[in-house]
């Protein structure tokens, strides 16, 4: 049994929904279909969810939102016409929408959540209706009825463990179940949405609940690439990634899937298969708990910029029990989250995202570290990029570091820092931002294929 989730671009127009239908028909084990709200049809288009948020905000602020409402309805009308569905569906959508908009609410955020959730909910109804019209046994199910109970945290709901038993009954349903993504219901019966990538969360929860063989996640890319296509043209596709590799790559700017969203699937070791709605014959990328086949030490190279380092040195730092902990406590008191802390004997560097720092916070931090820890030197270096070279195969591969550092040296990239923990699923290089592109190209050349220089 498969749980299949379709993203917004796969549902942006009638043409796309027909592809979804084809995909669902192709494989009779695709029993549960999770849908997002309609996405963009072009770069200039707006996502329905964004329109809904704007509408909720305007309405809450007492502003007129007739135009936005019109735009939202228009999207569903257009899809109905494209799919030759009866207009009565749009009428019932309009009715429901008016009720949601005018109904009472406990607070602003639960009102927003109720409005935001429309996009997926209506889409699921439309898709179920279309499937039925094509002669497929299919039914929309409401998350409340299905038993998707979540914590009362508007915009950041967490699934409650009690949900899984109830949701597991979906296994027994005959035909296709069309499930709206992005939201569940609190125990008091209010609509609560998940955080980012909420439809991915719904799919992962359902995959866990029904113990799916695979969780298929249809997007608009053929696969996860071994390197950012904006840096290297037509990079190699990755066929299979482990969860850990995926996580390390997603850290370095890979944004195909939101890793947190997949936790329910990961926790049950259910493979996640990333596929392309617009090219369903492409093999896609499978994310698995363990890779069967060895495909070389490195599966991907990710990079991200916007980091800085706080360098602290103090003679005999190494002898001071608690120095590192005290330093991290100061940073925590400034609300700073750090990424790494490579260290020498008498120095330590804390790497963090620089957008967390304002110039005034910077000078306060330097001041406190100097005063409280009696550091000899505190220097903040800006404009750093981190490059992750990722692969489970590195684990016992003598020489991967040698190849990587040789490639960087030949590209005249100075390595500002290296952090390789004992996990050996990744190596991290810190370089200056201006060297990032050249460094990634050099590493790609070394581990994958020639790159035109």
């Amino acid at each position: 049994m498969k749980v299949v989730k379709f993203g917004g671009s796969s549902l942006a127009a009638g043409e796309q929904i027909k592809k979804v239908f084809q995909i669902v028909c192709e494989d009779p084990t695709r029993k549960i279909v999770v849908v997002s709200a309609p996405g963009k049809r072009s770069n200039e288009d707006r996502k329905v969810t964004d329109l809904l948020i704007q509408c909720a905000e305007k309405h809450f602020g007492g502003e007129n939102c007739a135009e936005i409402i019109e735009a939202i309805f228009c999207r569903y009308e257009t899809i109905c016409i494209e799919l030759e569905l009866p207009m009565s569906i749009v009428e019932s959508i309009k009715e429901d929408f008016a009720e949601r908009l005018m109904g009472g609410y406990k607070d602003k955020f639960s009102f927003y959540d109720r409005m935001k959730a429309c996009g997926e909910d209506y889409m699921a109804q439309l898709v179920a209706c279309f499937f039925q019209a094509q002669g497929l046994q299919a039914a929309y199910i409401n998350p409340k009825e299905a038993g998707l109970i979540v914590s009362r945290e508007p915009g950041n709901a967490q699934v409650l463990p009690v949900s899984y038993e109830k949701l597991s009954n979906l296994k027994e349903k005959s035909g296709i179940t069309v499930f709206p993504g992005f939201f569940g219901y609190s125990e008091e019966g209010e609509i609560m949405t998940f955080s980012r990538s909420g439809s991915d969360v719904t799919g992962a929860i359902l995959a866990k609940a029904v113990q799916a063989d695979v969780y298929e996640n249809f997007t608009d890319v053929n696969a996860v690439y071994s390197v950012n296509p904006a840096i290297v043209l037509n990079p190699k596709e990755v066929r299979e990634l482990t969860y850990r590799e995926m996580r390390e790559l997603s850290y370095g700017g890979f944004t195909v899937l939101h890793d947190e969203a997949l936790i329910p699937a990961f926790s049950e070791r259910i493979p996640v298969h990333i596929r392309n709605t617009n090219n369903s014959s492409a093999p896609g990328t499978k994310i698995v708990s363990r890779r069967e086949e060895e495909i070389g030490p490195v599966v991907g190279i990710a990079s991200d910029h916007g980091f800085c380092s706080i360098y602290v040195s103090k003679y005999l730092m190494n002898r001071e029990i608690g120095f590192g902990r005290k330093l991290l406590t100061i940073l925590e008191e400034f609300g700073l989250s750090y990424e790494h802390s490579p260290s020498g004997i008498d120095d330590i560097s804390i790497i963090l995202r620089e957008d967390q720092l304002t110039p005034s916070a910077e000078s306060k931090i330097i001041e406190r570290i100097k005063m409280e820890l009696k550091a000899d030197e505190v220097v903040i270096q800006h404009h750093l990029s981190l490059i992750m070279v990722v692969g489970e195969g590195m684990r016992h591969n003598v020489g991967t570091m040698s190849r990587a550092s040789k490639a960087l040296a030949e590209a005249r990239v100075n390595i500002e820092m290296i952090n390789q923990g004992s996990s050996e699923v990744s190596m991290m290089f810190g370089v200056k931002e201006i060297d990032e592109k050249r460094a990634v190209e050099a590493l790609y050349r070394e581990f994958f294929a020639p790159v035109p220089v």
Copy 2:
């Protein structure tokens, strides 16, 4: 003006003290001579300080210590005979010794300190006497008279800032001043000894007080070596090291000088010159604040074993503000001092000396990390060695890491971890203990010279 310190092996016998005299005569700027207690004359011999400690302990425990006292006196008598000095010196030593032994004391540790300090004190008197007998203008000075005032911490005294002004008067003395190392006086007038390498501390304090041009430290080695001679036969000598390089090297098992002892000299940027009493024409090794000449990226390779790593992984660890700090707090509560903490995205390894861990502490630590931090996995890996590749020249030398990791790969050494902070004075490699020797040889071969394999 130079402050010159001679270690125990340079003063172990009359023959050695004649060399000391030669060295002092050779250079008229050698005005202040700091002496240790007589060291070993052969491998089977015992250091006078060790005899003194044993004597103090026995006496305090009410045991008969006549034999040990005899052995102590015998050392000074022998030296007197070898140097053709009047036996009256030994008589006055015996008198003083009896007074110290039988005198009152506040506590055990201050009694021990008073006894331990004899070795240097008598040596300084003897040396001054010998210098005078050779026609040199020389005088013993007592640290109390000179103004070396220290904190009342037996065995771990710290110099008090007030000392420096008084000690600076030593500059004005004509002739040679012979100063006993290892101890000072508390404000109440009790003898207090420094911790390890106490004579080095005295020399560094005097160098600072008189603003010496150089602090010469005479030992029994020609120089600091670029690598441990027990691993590589006849390794290259190092001519000039910066303080930071010295410190990084001393961390990795280099024990020529106790780095903490040199702080007073370092703080004033006074060069420390390590030389050999038995080969005073050898150029030795200078430790300076800044090296003038570039001598390649790497100046030395140090290694030490007996480390372990605590590996902690948790999915999405990276998003958790405070995770690292909490982990370090747990270790601190077990009294553990850690060396490094290389990290991946969702894992972190804490490297520490394994002699700090007992099996029962280990399981408690694992338990707490799992419970309190909800870690997915906690694994302790034993028998690791750390290898430091050290050199200020690495700083902007693209390719040093490449050369080092290539050398290790070719020697089939798997790199368990790498930690390179932004200081770039050193690169640290973690390897399995069984690979340490092979790894150090490979690195030496790469950066210095061929090694017979």
